[in-house]
Symmetry: C2
Subunit: 339 residues, 2 copies
DNA sequence: TTGTATGCGTTATCAA
DNA sequence: TTGATAACGCATACAA
């Protein structure tokens, strides 16, 4: 082992070359192996004194394990890829923060990957490339992963977190919306999709749940509509809906934006909200609480709706698994003035 | 070396261990060094035959360079960290897509880091940790980086892209808003901050630009207000503003949400928009075009406002530097009904 | 309880 | 024109 660099100065001054485990070993007066063991918390077999010396030496030098060296020898890195769907929800950053914190809790580092559903082929390549080069410890799917990409992960042996236990949140959301509208006295219920998200599975599942609720409660079958995000189009949709409902009705909307578009259309058509027609969104976006009438909406309890990922993270990487909350607590209706 | 799983089945075959440069070398009948050279496009000094054999062997095996091995020997990885501010703008994902494409263009991989401005200390640590473990080739700042973090990058010798040539977009935005209001006939102009972003430098710069515009045009000095994102608070702010302006006035707002909050307050107070009071936002968020009156706002031309980063990327990593568009083209006013 | 030796996949240097 | 070999920093089986 000709480990020592040629013209090595006694103290590599400051920052240019980050400290290595060899530096720590030298300062602590132990071998590199000991440093490695101690810093990986395999302390059981070392004297308290040694452990302490190693730790303080590491702290003193500002030593940070090289991800590269570690990844090379481990066969995979300490990163976890967070796949985020294109469909942006307002509190995306809060979601990311919650999961990131949990990922760090178990000693890994989160890395965000935006899954861009439009550029199909390009998308798939981008993700593959990331996985191949990063070799992450795992992938946490927030909803942006395509079946092909899931297959790819299996193929390269990269664990997909919480794959088997994704709770079906979308039916719960749809049911909650229908229930709420019903409880506020609307006997006719409709479901409003976002028009340019044709293949969105979320909406389909929620709409079906609304339909099922109506069937169970012996309400008329809910008509479906697709709402474009511009005023004229939204008004047309609402106009077409009026004759199909015969009077007072409530609309379960795909998200707050759709609800706002319809509420605005209703006002423009001289309808009373919530007297004639009611709207409930999903998201609890700030803008919904600022406008008038304020929006009734379904808000997510993040720590609950993400708990399956957090849980799976703990199971896979040896953190402390928290008790798993029931999926029923994942969402709640925020009462506004639109229902 | 616990490389092989204990009860390994024979069928682990294809994928578990990705191909290495040694595999490629074997298949091509050359040495690992040759493989490395060829695959790094240093082909000048090899026979066409060798180059071809290496390339087809690599393709056949689906060989992908190990980021870990490469990072280890290079001292830094092939990743570029994209720092994204908390202040979410709607087309965030489009922005990320544009820059990501450019990063890939020069053979690097984008990694997104959300900078969470609220959790101050935690934030700083998260970023440091990412930089220390990833050792990225560079950092591209979309606006989320604190001065401390910039210092940190310098300290560890990580290049910050386009550091010296960040165009001052914020003054341009403020000026554009003021100009627009003036051109629509509003002689009294105000600036409205977001109330819970006290230290936000963007707002400060824009407000100053508005003030400067007014001074240049001999308009009265614009009062500043801070708008909370809830209806009661926003109405209070507007009420306080009324006596200070004496009649018809226009408000340059920090973003669309602030503008919407004030426009809603104006309606609630029985003011005519845009007859009595006008609002112009920044963002061109979809919701601003859905509500009534639709919002006049400042929209960004992404490819322009990101061009300094794209340019710097090319300079630093040897891509093809595009001609740099003028900063004046970076933003435009979208005329709505609120001014 | 601690140290030695080795290999992970890549690139750079130098020898052939 | 090509190849052998030595690092890079780390983790771990095994020897002491």
């Amino acid at each position: 082992m000709s480990r020592q660099p040629v013209g090595d100065e006694p103290v590599a001054s400051a920052r240019l070359r980050p400290a290595t485990s060899a530096d720590v070993a030298r300062l602590a007066g132990v071998s590199r192996a000991t440093v490695s063991h101690v810093l990986n918390d395999q302390v059981a077999r070392f004297s308290a004194d040694t452990v302490e010396r190693v730790r303080s030496a590491a702290a003193e030098l500002g030593y940070v394990r090289s991800a590269a060296g570690r990844a090379l020898v481990m066969g995979r890195s300490d990163f976890v890829v967070l796949v985020v769907p294109y469909t942006t929800f307002t509190n995306l950053q809060d979601v990311i923060e919650v999961i990131s914190a949990q990922i760090e809790e178990v000693g890994l580092s989160p890395v965000i990957h935006f899954s861009v559903s439009r550029a199909e082929s390009a998308k798939s390549r981008r993700f593959q490339h990331l996985i191949e080069t990063l070799r992450p410890a795992g992938v946490a799917d927030l909803g942006g992963l395509s079946p092909q990409e899931v297959d790819f992960l299996a193929e390269v042996g990269c664990p997909l977190l919480a794959e088997d236990e994704q709770p079906d949140y979308n039916p719960a959301i749809g049911r909650l919306q229908a229930e709420h509208l019903h409880s506020r006295g609307y006997e006719r219920i409709c479901y409003a999709f976002l028009s340019d998200a044709r293949d969105d599975p979320y909406g389909q599942q929620r709409a079906r749940a609304v339909t099922e609720y109506c069937a169970r409660e012996s309400l008329p079958e809910p008509p479906y509509v697709r709402v474009p995000l511009e005023r004229e189009g939204a008004r047309e949709v609402l106009k077409e809906l009026l004759p199909r409902t015969g009077g007072r009705f409530g609309v379960a909307c795909y998200n707050d934006l759709v609800a706002i578009a319809l509420a605005e259309s209703a006002a423009a058509l001289g309808l009373d909200v919530p007297g004639d027609v009611a709207f409930i969104g999903v998201e609890h976006a700030p803008v919904g609480q600022i406008i008038s009438p304020s929006l009734t909406t379904v808000a997510a309890n993040m720590s609950v709706s993400l708990s399956h990922i957090v849980h799976s993270l703990a199971v896979e990487f040896g953190g402390t698994p928290l008790p798993r909350p029931s999926p029923d607590q994942a969402f709640r209706v925020v009462q506004g003035e639109s229902t």
